[in-house]
């Protein structure tokens, strides 16, 4: 991918700075195609996000995607993986921060840093049950409030509990 040579050094320095700052926490990292991908441990998440936003200039949180690793080759060994997609505007640099979290555990909420994390975290909670500490109003966003269970978990039956049509 020739055209990515230009931004690789910048990302590589960023990776070095990140690795330096959070020595223990960076488990794996790869730089390709204009995207820095980092796997962090749970407790380094908040400070890493703050570092990426304030120092590295990733000013937009585009998406928070949660995954259920039940039954699949889970890299981190934990049940859920939450992936933060950060964007740097202006420009086209992207950062992927992946964090593993166990069934009952919770993550530090990114809402104090990025306003757009509000509903994305509520959706992750609603669909997977991943709790976010410090979220102003962690409620279900799609399912009715009195709904039990989290639909997007692998062990949730596709046709729903009441045996769909």
């Amino acid at each position: 991918m020739p055209e990515d040579q230009a931004d690789r050094p910048e990302l590589r320095e960023l990776l070095a700075a990140l690795a330096g700052r959070f020595a223990g926490a960076v488990l794996a990292s790869v730089v390709d195609e204009g995207e820095l991908s980092v796997r962090l441990s749970k407790d380094a998440l908040a400070s890493a996000l703050r570092f990426l936003k304030e120092e590295a200039g990733f000013n937009a949180l585009e998406d928070i995607a949660a995954f259920d690793n039940l039954g699949s080759a889970a890299e981190g060994g934990q049940r859920f993986t939450v992936v933060y997609r950060l964007g740097k505007f202006p420009g086209a640099l992207r950062a992927r921060v992946a964090v593993d979290v166990g069934e009952g555990e919770s993550l530090a909420s990114a809402v104090p840093l990025y306003r757009s994390a509000d509903w994305a975290e509520r959706e992750a909670f609603d669909m997977f049950g991943v709790r976010f500490e410090g979220h102003p109003d962690l409620r279900r966003i799609y399912m009715p409030d009195e709904f039990e269970g989290h639909p997007l978990r692998k062990d949730f039956p596709l046709a729903g509990r009441t045996g769909g049509a």
Partner: protein
């Protein structure tokens, strides 16, 4: 008698909430103190359904996300899967896709124009905008047989080639649309009532827009040039010369102007794509049973409503392990509360219209 503000319920069955969206408004004698959208009325559990379908079977379901711009959803998903599977799409297919995507942006912006004008009271503009949109929908019907849930873009390319009669019909439609737009602009652009209802209403600063994750025309109306077609080009968009219209103070009027200008730019792009249509295959050879090695990809396109992203994770089988959709309307709607504060109750309708949200894409 102590005065207290009361909360007003707007929706989910309300004439101007573009689908089933419920807004809880804290209102103090018509001045809006806070807006809390309640979602989930159109939640069909798409992401759960996708996990039980093969990669190709998911494509018709993406039609039903942003049902005003079905082709953009198809394109977004197919590009993500092709990047994951490493499928090389031939140049002609990329050009056909650009033509379809830009025509879809045209139709989506015309539908938005009709809805928003009708919400603010100019009901004739709804009919003029939809009459222009009918021509574009007829093109889709001519191309692959459906007008709304088009399913015209497949993994690897497009469903059919652009033959010469269709190309000439497209060019004819592209001439007619600017004339209908002139009528609308003459009715609205300089009209004092329209400007009274839109200038300075629902204003959002550039920094706040980025913080709220606003994308698409809403962000460009604040003067920030973030357009995926230019920043992270896909499907050979960098072959075409077009400019990204920008607003200045990020209010409803600027979003109106930006979208109207984008319609003209889309017409320009389709013209260039048709002129430079290369020879060759209109789709790549894709195995009927597509198995993709384990991996994960996040690919974004510039959908009419904003940056539409698909995260696809594969596990080696022919069914995706997880498809997460980053919906532009879902993120843009979060900024509604920030925009509505301090405005009047009747502005909420105008601001919601200027955000151009579609509930199918929000509730998934």
């Amino acid at each position: 008698m102590e005065l207290r503000e009361y909360d007003l319920n707007m929706g989910p069955q309300h004439p101007s909430t573009h689908g089933v969206l419920r807004l809880k408004l804290a209102v103090d004698n018509e001045v809006v103190l806070g807006v809390e959208p309640v979602l989930g009325y159109l939640h069909r559990g798409m992401e759960k359904l996708w996990e039980s379908l093969t990669y190709t079977q998911v494509v018709p379901l993406t039609d039903r996300l942003d049902y005003i711009a079905a082709l953009s959803n198809n394109l977004g998903y197919c590009l993500a899967v092709e990047k994951l599977a490493g499928i090389e799409v031939p140049k002609r297919a990329r050009y056909v896709r650009v033509v379809l995507a830009e025509l879809q942006r045209l139709a989506s912006h015309l539908a938005w124009l009709g809805f928003m004008a009708n919400d603010i009271g100019a009901m004739s503009v709804l009919l003029y905008a939809f009459e222009a949109r009918e021509d574009v929908l007829d093109l889709f019907e001519e191309y692959c047989g459906a007008r709304l849930t088009i399913h015209g873009i497949r993994i690897g390319g497009a469903v059919r080639d652009l033959d010469t009669p269709l190309v000439s019909r497209i060019r004819a439609v592209l001439e007619r649309i600017p004339k209908r737009l002139e009528d609308v602009r003459a009715l609205l652009d300089e009209n004092r009532i329209w400007k009274e209802r839109t200038v300075g209403v629902g204003r959002i600063a550039a920094a706040a827009a980025i913080d709220y994750g606003l994308t698409g025309p809403g962000l460009r109306a604040c003067g920030l040039a973030w357009d995926m077609r230019k920043d992270i080009p896909y499907s050979s968009y960098d072959d075409f010369a077009f400019d990204v219209p920008l607003g200045t103070n990020g209010d409803v009027y600027d979003r109106y102007l930006v979208r109207l200008e984008e319609i003209c730019q889309s017409i320009r792009i389709v013209g260039q794509a048709l002129d430079g249509l290369p020879g060759g295959e209109f789709t790549a050879k894709v195995p009927r049973v597509l198995k993709i090695a384990p991996g994960e990809v996040f690919h974004t396109i510039e959908a009419p409503k904003g940056v539409l992203g698909f995260t696809v994770r594969s596990n080696g089988t022919d069914k995706p392990e997880r498809v997460k959709m980053k919906s532009p309307s879902f993120i843009n709607l979060q900024a509604l509360d920030h925009m509505c504060r301090g405005n009047l109750f009747s502005d909420v309708v105008g601001i919601l219209g200027s955000l151009d949200i579609v509930l199918g894409e929000i509730d998934k």
